[in-house]
Assembly symmetry: C5
Amino acid sequence: MKIMQVEKTLVSTNRIQEMGNRPLLVVKEKSGGRSVAVDAIGCIPGDWVICVGSSAAREAAGAKDFPSDLTIIGIIDRWEEA
Amino acid sequence: MKIMQVEKTLVSTNRIQEMGNRPLLVVKEKSGGRSVAVDAIGCIPGDWVICVGSSAAREAAGAKDFPSDLTIIGIIDRWEEA
Amino acid sequence: MKIMQVEKTLVSTNRIQEMGNRPLLVVKEKSGGRSVAVDAIGCIPGDWVICVGSSAAREAAGAKDFPSDLTIIGIIDRWEEA
Amino acid sequence: MKIMQVEKTLVSTNRIQEMGNRPLLVVKEKSGGRSVAVDAIGCIPGDWVICVGSSAAREAAGAKDFPSDLTIIGIIDRWEEA
Amino acid sequence: MKIMQVEKTLVSTNRIQEMGNRPLLVVKEKSGGRSVAVDAIGCIPGDWVICVGSSAAREAAGAKDFPSDLTIIGIIDRWEEA
């Protein structure tokens, strides 16, 4: 899993039906690279979170056929970026 | 998921049967790297889109056995490249 | 999917039985990195091709249990490397 | 699989239910990049370990639906970083 | 698939049961990056080999639930590193 920081919400009105209206968040790696993650927890900008990728991201997002390759599965209690 | 920008259509006449005649698009990452994505939405060049990879790309493209590892699943309403 | 160029055939006599005698090709990314792909189309050196990875590479190679993580699924009609 | 070194425990109280209370560890690659792994062995900080990713990380973590994309599956008897 | 060179055997006595006592090898990419692969062929240090990753690595290692994300599936007859 990756350690990432939530930056902001991403608005995408025109999306495939399978995504429903699940919230999408822009997350940032320490190196600065941005990705989009499905939020399975309820995070706010600034939170340091654990993101799961690969096929595990689908079920973690709520269903085996959910189209996610990156899902936030936990908020880190305390993270000091070294 | 990755944030990418649609560049242009990719023509590939000689392809495996399982792809049908689904449109293929060249998409570009901020870093400049190009990939090919299956379009499940209906995009035009210039659009900023959300691309899903891994095994989720298959079903997002329409069927569990569709040979895709990168599928466009949403258009971003507004994206300003920072 | 990735855009790659076919370089040459790769000979591997000693291989696991599940691969059968499917042709293997050395393919090259623009950045110069080389990989090995299963050819599901019939390419020749110099062709610019579309390669699918992840779990989709297995079925694209002909069967769900085919041991491939990179399969050539289409030849690009015309590609000018920018 | 990747060769990584265990750095420390990661505390995440607010996590999805599917994770149970499985211990999570921060692991570090030689290059310095940090990831989070599920511990299926029982490691301590400083251990050099073998981490499996991709879909294999799920079952290695104990169940097919466990949300992991990186699981520690073995401790290396002796590793001298070259 | 990736082209890698076998470096040496990796000893890991404390491992999860699902791995059995399958031999593990340290393999090296041209760029110098090291990984660990399950040997499904029978290689010796110095061999140039074809490694399959992703979900295909599991079945190539012998069983659908084998915890591998990198499996050696063939020895290259002749490889001259360019």
